[in-house]
């Protein structure tokens, strides 16, 4: 009687032992395949369904927030109240397509630390705060709005920053997309965005370079003044057409005009009229080394520190100009192989505005814990010393005259001294790119800006930097200074 009972009991124990082996097989041997299986949505859900902290603008508006999913109480859905306006900077946190922008770079701050089973529990028990933190950006929502509306649906970018600190106040890239559509989106919508020839996913403030045109003359002028080769009053010949050495090419001014009426023209006059002949001569006089090294000091051919990777702006190496003065002459006008991002050109304006010191640009201003206490604050730091304070003073005055009496009059703000430089850059077959870089107020600049409107924007073939880009910069700077920024 006891014998058969024991045997049945032993049979059950053997089966229990086999169950332990079996469950070990699934939870250890097969754990990695099961976890990585594409049909197992747990990893994705745990990464994206969790509550994340807020992303706020400098003026306190919510740019990204998590709201509970009504369909699945364990999940949160990420919402972007301003849709297209911050698509490239704030970015998106998507189930299927991963994270981008601040959502990506600040993922660790924004997500809660509760997922780390043992260590998360331990730190929670030890009283550490594992809740999601929030990020406040330096972007000013009211200003971002003005810039986006001024740019409209034209392709291009607006970057504005505080030259004294490097805080980025505006970063608008157009065309844009609605990150909400990616959070909820199906792969077809994402494919459509990726294949759209207008490239709405591209961040034109930092990931696209354009020929900078005459805005590059600012760098050439800095090099001239800094090296003592020329000052504002230095006179240059004023030909109708400049024949380039070692070449059959010639350089003319805009519209084939003379640079003023005199036989000779001062550098300052040539700058405010944006005379190509003068700057071609000046570039050749400076020689390749000086022009290239000045551009590199401003950030060309280098990594610019920022919250995201900035595509380096490029200028050919000095050696290439040694036996090709024609190329140097054209490069000095910001044409040929010079390519710059909007961010790079904003930093050129900022360097002039901030007495020769370029502050490293940044977006993340402060990080808050879940109780709204400040967790950390970004400290401003210098990125580059590009010229002496004296040179900066000279350049500020030269740039102010561009706005008062030159190509940049459309950037004038009543009662405010504005400095700037226009650019109308050849863009291959298409209409030219319209540029404006500038700062205000001249006596103590609080905002530096770069605007680029690709291929002439709505104006097309006849577009100039002064007519198309300068008014956009004017609106942004005027609004910022009027609102006490």
């Amino acid at each position: 009687m006891n014998g058969p009972m024991r045997r049945v009991a032993i049979a059950l124990f053997v089966i229990f032992a086999v169950l332990i082996l079996d469950v070990t097989y699934w939870q250890v041997v097969r754990a990695d395949d099961l976890r990585a299986d594409g049909r197992n949505s747990r990893e994705l859900l745990s990464r994206t369904g969790r509550e994340r902290g807020l992303i706020l603008s400098a003026d306190g508006l919510v740019l990204a927030r998590s709201v509970p999913d009504t369909a699945d109480s364990q999940r949160f859905i990420r919402e972007y109240p301003f849709a297209e306006l911050y698509a490239h900077t704030v970015g998106y946190s998507s189930l299927l397509f991963g994270d981008s922008g601040i959502e990506d770079t600040q993922a660790e701050v924004l997500s809660s630390g509760r997922d780390l089973t043992i260590s998360g529990l331990l730190s929670a028990l030890l009283g550490e705060d594992v809740r999601a933190r929030s990020v406040q950006l330096s972007l000013v929502h009211a200003l971002q709005n003005v810039a986006a509306e001024a740019l409209g649906d034209q392709e291009g970018a607006v970057v504005a920053l505080d030259p004294r600190t490097g805080e980025v106040l505006v970063a608008v890239s157009s065309p844009s997309f609605d990150p909400n559509s990616i959070v909820f989106g199906n792969p077809a919508e994402f494919d459509r965005l990726q294949e759209d020839p207008a490239e709405p996913l591209l961040d034109r403030t930092i990931r696209e370079t354009y020929s900078p045109g005459s805005t590059f003359k600012t760098i050439v002028a800095v090099s001239a003044v800094e090296s003592g080769v020329a000052g504002p009053d230095t006179l240059f010949p004023n030909p109708q057409e400049l024949e380039l050495p070692q070449s059959t090419a010639t350089i003319e001014n805009f519209g084939g005009a003379l640079c003023g009426s005199a036989e000779e023209v001062a550098l300052e006059e040539a700058f405010l009229r944006s005379c190509n002949t003068t700057f071609a001569l000046l570039g050749m006089r400076l020689a390749g080394d000086a022009v290239v090294s000045q551009a590199e000091a401003f950030g060309f051919n280098r990594e610019i520190p920022y919250d995201f990777g900035v595509l380096p702006s490029v200028i050919p190496e000095a050696d290439t100009f040694r036996n090709d003065l024609a190329a140097l002459a054209q490069t000095s006008l910001g044409e040929r192989d010079v390519q710059a991002t909007a961010m790079q050109m904003a930093l050129v304006a900022a360097g002039v505005a901030n007495e020769g010191t370029i502050m490293a640009p940044y977006l993340v201003e402060q990080i808050f814990d879940a109780d709204s206490n400040v967790d950390s604050t970004t400290e401003a730091r210098a990125f580059a010393e590009v010229m002496g304070a004296g040179t900066a003073q000279v350049l500020r005055e030269m740039m102010e005259r561009v706005v008062t009496a030159g190509t940049g009059t459309r950037a004038q703000i009543p009662g405010v001294r504005v400095g700037g430089k226009t650019g109308t850059a050849e863009a291959g077959e298409g209409p030219p790119h319209a540029w404006f870089i500038g700062f205000a107020p001249v006596e103590d600049p609080r905002i530096a800006i770069a605007v680029v409107v690709a291929n002439g924007g709505n104006v097309g073939e006849n577009a100039t930097g002064g007519a198309v880009a300068a008014p956009i910069a004017q609106e942004v700077m005027a609004f910022y200074l009027a609102s006490g920024g």
Partner: protein, 430 residues
């Protein structure tokens, strides 16, 4: 182990339930709330009450039963709480009811002991058959009890009391059938094991004595056919055969039972589409991931993702598994508590089964030995059926995991099972 140690372990189990609830709240962003205290107190009341009743009316019982049962109930409850607050609130009521029923049974049998179970075995049989047929009542009509079909299986009864209570009478019928068999087999043991008839050169049992075996087979098959309940059918049939074997020691009964089982399986396989689907889902759950294989596949994903240490309570996604709070509660626990938790659970089931068989070995007579071993087998085998289904050792049969799955009738029945084992243990030397 002393009674004091038992009390300490029961308090720990109640603490485990309360602590688990607190952890789930924490994981979901909440804080300590009344649920934690309420759960702790309900567990303390239920198992404390049972322990006191056993001390009072079955004082000779081994002290190992309740702490194991309480631990399994606590872990199961926490997972149910984590998956569905409303179910958990109901489950707390069910636990109190189950403990109340357990205490009442102990009180009722305090002086007569288990003798009535032996004496009135045909009442038990009648009761079991009636309970098994209850779900076949029409789903609407004048009766207070109404049959209910859930997921294609008809094993539920709805009782309208102004509010509705649903229960599975088969869970209680299971206990009555084991008690009936223990009594019947204890009396007929001699006749069943004395094989006097010869066919050719081999001794065989009297065909007349095989009638109960055939009846067992028919009854189980009827449950399968009319109620479409694979798990209960296999459990009942295995209980008949194994108890017959334990009573007689004749392996031929086992062999014959296995043969009948295989015949039944083959028949079911050809006749029932739902059996075929279950087997196909078992062979390759990923072949029809969106359909028949989904539950098993999600269970495997849950276990694999949980891995060694688990996601932590409230931090996994066991809500993705269909029937996570009932049949698949083990997969949910494996996901959140990891392999560590899985092994603890399986070991606890093995230990409780072992305690039951230990009581059977020491029981004072054949009826009590068969009762205790039959109950222990039913308990252990039911756990194995669903655990093996979840871990893909065999097709999923759809049956509750004792003490852990959400479900009132299952909880009441398993508490009664433990109470009966305690009674057998108590009567060892009296």
């Amino acid at each position: 182990m002393t009674r004091a140690a038992e009390a300490a372990l029961l308090i720990s189990a109640a603490g485990l339930a309360g602590f688990g609830v607190a952890l789930v709240n924490f994981a979901e962003g909440g804080t300590l709330d009344a649920q934690t205290a309420l759960t702790f107190l309900v567990f303390l009341l239920a198992f404390g009450g049972l322990s006191a009743a056993i001390r009072q009316w079955a004082s000779g019982s081994v002290p190992y039963l309740l702490p194991l049962a309480a631990t399994l109930t606590a872990v199961g409850f926490v997972e149910v709480y984590r998956l569905d607050r409303q179910l958990a609130a109901l489950q707390r009521w069910w636990l109190l009811l189950a403990a109340g029923v357990g205490v009442t049974v102990l009180w009722a049998l305090r002086s007569v002991g288990l003798e009535p179970l032996r004496r009135y075995r045909y009442v038990l049989l009648l009761g079991a058959v009636a309970l098994l047929m209850l779900p076949l009542l029409p789903s609407s009509g004048p009766f207070p009890f109404k049959g209910l079909e859930v997921n294609g299986s008809r094993l539920w009864v709805r009782w309208d009391l102004g509010f509705q209570i649903q229960f599975q009478p088969g869970e209680i019928a299971k206990l009555l059938l084991v008690a009936f068999l223990a009594s019947y087999l204890a009396e007929r043991q001699a006749a069943l094991s004395a094989w006097t008839r010869r066919v050719g050169g081999a001794r065989v049992p009297e065909p007349r004595q095989l009638v109960p075996v055939a009846l067992a087979w028919v009854a189980s098959f009827a449950v399968l056919v009319y109620q479409r309940d694979l798990g209960a059918s296999m459990l009942l049939f295995a209980a008949f055969i194994v108890m017959l074997f334990m009573a007689t020691g004749r392996k031929t009964y086992l062999a014959g039972g296995v043969a009948l089982f295989l015949a039944g399986v083959a028949g079911a396989w050809t006749q029932f589409a739902h059996v075929q689907r279950r087997v196909e889902a078992w062979v390759d759950p990923f072949a029809d991931f969106e359909g028949a294989g989904y539950q098993i596949a999600q269970g495997l994903f849950a276990m694999g993702t949980g891995s060694l240490s688990g996601s932590g309570l409230g931090l996994g996604r066991p809500d993705l598994i269909p029937a996570a709070a009932t049949d698949f509660v083990f997969a949910a626990i494996a996901e959140e508590l990891g392999l560590a938790g899985s092994i603890v659970i399986i070991t606890a089931f093995g230990l409780l089964t072992a305690v039951g068989f230990g009581i059977a070995v020491r029981a004072r007579d054949l009826f009590r030995k068969l009762l205790a071993s039959g109950l222990s087998f039913v308990f252990g085998f039911q756990a194995i059926l669903i655990l093996a289904g979840v871990t893909r050792l065999m097709p999923v049969t759809g049956i509750a995991l004792p003490f852990m799955s959400y479900g009132g009738s299952s909880l009441v029945s398993n508490v009664l099972l433990v109470v009966l084992l305690a009674m057998v243990s108590h009567e060892e030397r009296t």
